[in-house]
Structures are given as structure tokens and as C-alpha cells.
Amino acid sequence: MYQTRQLIKLCCLLWIIALTIGCDGPSTSGNNSVTINPNTSANQPTEKDLQPGLDKSPMDMSYYPVDYPKLKMTGSISEPPIARVIYSRPQKNNRLIFGDLIKYGAVWRLGANEATEIEFFRDVTISDKRVSKGRYVIYCIPQENNWKLVLNTDLYTWGLKIDSTKDEYKFSIPVSKTRFPYELFTMEFEKAGKGMQLNMEWDSVKASLPITW
């Protein structure tokens, strides 16, 4: 037993050394590596002080058309975007996500930190429902075989408390298994059929919300 423990310790040490050497020196900050502090608790609101550190679940932004800001920069697009989502990206960190960290049937903020925000720059149609242009909080109630997605009008809120009296639209979408687990929760738009879909992936689960206009 004592020997095994020594062995594990040595392995860990070797690994850390190898990782340190592997990283390209000071130009890459530790905050950008995919394996982040295993003590991450995605559910803890963190107060921001005057010199706030980087978030453990960093924020990101996705547009449709995909990479809209870059298309605009290169001058290859002139019409306004269709949609944009702002969300935070928690990491799996060896945890089982769906059915365990995130309970089936419970409200999940579809990210971390602030409630996830989706904005439609024009009216769209989602699952045969007309959705008015504007900004919404988007959240999820995951089940094993499907997700319920909700658009809510209670904006600028932290994701742990959703005011369900302000639910505006609800959609049920099937989920599928991914071939490999996703370390980072990911939300991205993708061209699909006559419109697009909002793909959401984390761990071994993928769900897509079809959107047309």
C-alpha cells in the first residue's frame, strides 16, 4: 500500500514536470490550459474585486453567421447578424456531468456564472413557434433523452436563480451521444437546412435547436 502511494506520487510529479516543460513557457498562461483547478465549483457565484482574476468558467460569444465579427472585419458581409449567444464555459474536470453534476429535471443555466443570453436580431422560427426579435435568457431542463429549452425575459441575472414566471417560449429537443467527451461546455451555431441550428455539447451529450427565418 505504502509503495503504491509512492508510485502514484512519483507519477504525478513526473507528469507535472512534463506538462511544465511541454507548455511553451511564459507566453501561455496557465489560465488557458484546458485542465483547470479540479476544485472548480461552477455553482459558486464569485464576487469580483477591483483586480479580478480570470474566471474559472470563462465567458465566450458565438454568432450566426458563424464568426460574424471576422466576416464583417474582412468586408465579406454587410447585412446584420441573425443571432448571438453569450455564455460561460465550465469544464468537465473528470466529473460525470448529466444526471450527476447536473440533475435530470432540474433547471440548468446552460453554462456558468451569469445566465446565458441569446439575442435574435430579427424574428425567427424555432420548432414552428415564432420568436420575436430581441434578447432573452436561455436555460435548460435536461432529461436523459431530451432537453427542454426555455427563453425567458428576466435579463441580466446570475444563472442560479431563474424567474420562471417570465418564461416566454419553451422547446423540447432530443439529445444524442457524442463520440468523445467534450471537456468544455460549447455553444455554437451551424448552418443547417434552410436555416441554422444552435449546437450545445458537453461531456458526451449533444443537443441542437433548429432555427429558421
Binding site: C11, P69, Y182
Partner: protein, 189 residues
């Protein structure tokens, strides 16, 4: 010892091959963040402590110093800087404001800065949803103002933009490396 090394390499190789097989977008090197005034508005809101309404928010990306000298070197003096990284920094005002006696209507703007050694020129521009300052168009400026700088004692690693309450409104504080810039904003009642 030999077995150990073999084990270590085997595990590392398995790990890297698994990771090489899927293409999930990685975390940004300069992660995005959001600042609000009142500060921490979403947290105050769920704690029922948000007494004042949301006045503004900024969505920006946070590059890191990484041992580099930032102003005058990495960011050249006199050139337009996107006040962050990646997408152009975006400010959304939920009320009309006054900046240096100029009125700025509520709405969504891109923000840029032209840093100099002794001041920054801050720019509010109406072209939004754009990447960086590469296509910055001066004709779409809605407001320009100069702000004073202070020296930071301890250098700040990640570019930081936050709001601080003042008697007449808020200070937007922008700090990176050893430079701190402060923009006073007055909210029009």
C-alpha cells in the same frame, strides 16, 4: 523505474490521442468577461440587493501581460487599440449619459482607445459586432474623450475593466500592466 517511465508515457500518449480526436473549440487565450454598473449587478439581483437599476455593462476580452511591456511597446502609442482582445469591446448603456459634457444616448457601442504616454483617447463608435480595430472607421464615431492616467504600483496581469460608484455616476476604470485610466460617467436622470 523503467516500468514507471513506460507507464507514464503510455498514459500520456493515450491521453493526447484521445484529445486529438475531437475538435471542440478551445478556451480563448484572452477570455471574455463582463462588467456591470452597479458592479456585480446579476449577483446583487438574485440576492435581492439590486437597489438601483442596471445602468451599463461592458463585454470585453482580457489579454495578459505575460512578462511583456504593454504600453508603448506591445501596444504602440498613437494607434487605435480595441481596448481588450478578439471582438471589439462593447459597451451597452441602458440610460443616456454625460461624458465630459458630451451627451451619449443609450444603446450599444464599440469602444476603442488610442493610448499615449500621458493620456488615452477613448472612442465610442456605432459599428458593433466587429472583430478588433482592424476596420475601425472614424466616420462612425459618436464620441471621443481624453482621460488621465495613473501609475499602478503593482502591475496588473490581465487587462481589467470595472466600474466604481461616484457621487454623480460611475468611474469606468481600465487597468493593465502599470497603467490605470479612469473615465468619469454621469448618468442623466
Amino acid at each position: 523505474m523503467k516500468q514507471l517511465v513506460v507507464l507514464f508515457f503510455a498514459v500520456t500518449i493515450i491521453n493526447t490521442t484521445v484529445e486529438a480526436q475531437f475538435k471542440a473549440p478551445a478556451l480563448d487565450k484572452s477570455p471574455m468577461d463582463m462588467s456591470y454598473f452597479p458592479a456585480n449587478f446579476p449577483i446583487l439581483k438574485i440576492q435581492n440587493k439590486a437597489i438601483d437599476p442596471l445602468m451599463c455593462r461592458v463585454c470585453y476580452s482580457r489579454p495578459q501581460k505575460n512578462g511583456r511591456n504593454v504600453f508603448g511597446d506591445l501596444i504602440e502609442y498613437g494607434k487605435v487599440w480595441r481596448l481588450g482582445a478578439n471582438e471589439a469591446t462593447e459597451i451597452e448603456l441602458y440610460k443616456d449619459v454625460k461624458i465630459n459634457n458630451d451627451r451619449l444616448k443609450k444603446g450599444r457601442y464599440s469602444m476603442y482607445a488610442i493610448p499615449f504616454q500621458d493620456k488615452w483617447t477613448l472612442i465610442f463608435n456605432r459599428e458593433t459586432d466587429i472583430w478588433g480595430a482592424f476596420q475601425y472607421d472614424e466616420k462612425k464615431d459618436v464620441l471621443r474623450t481624453d482621460v488621465k492616467l495613473e501609475k499602478q504600483q503593482d502591475p496588473i496581469e490581465a487587462f481589467t475593466l470595472v466600474f466604481d460608484k461616484t457621487d454623480s455616476g460611475a468611474n469606468m476604470i481600465m487597468a493593465w500592466d502599470d497603467v490605470k485610466a479612469t473615465l468619469p460617467i454621469t448618468f442623466i436622470k
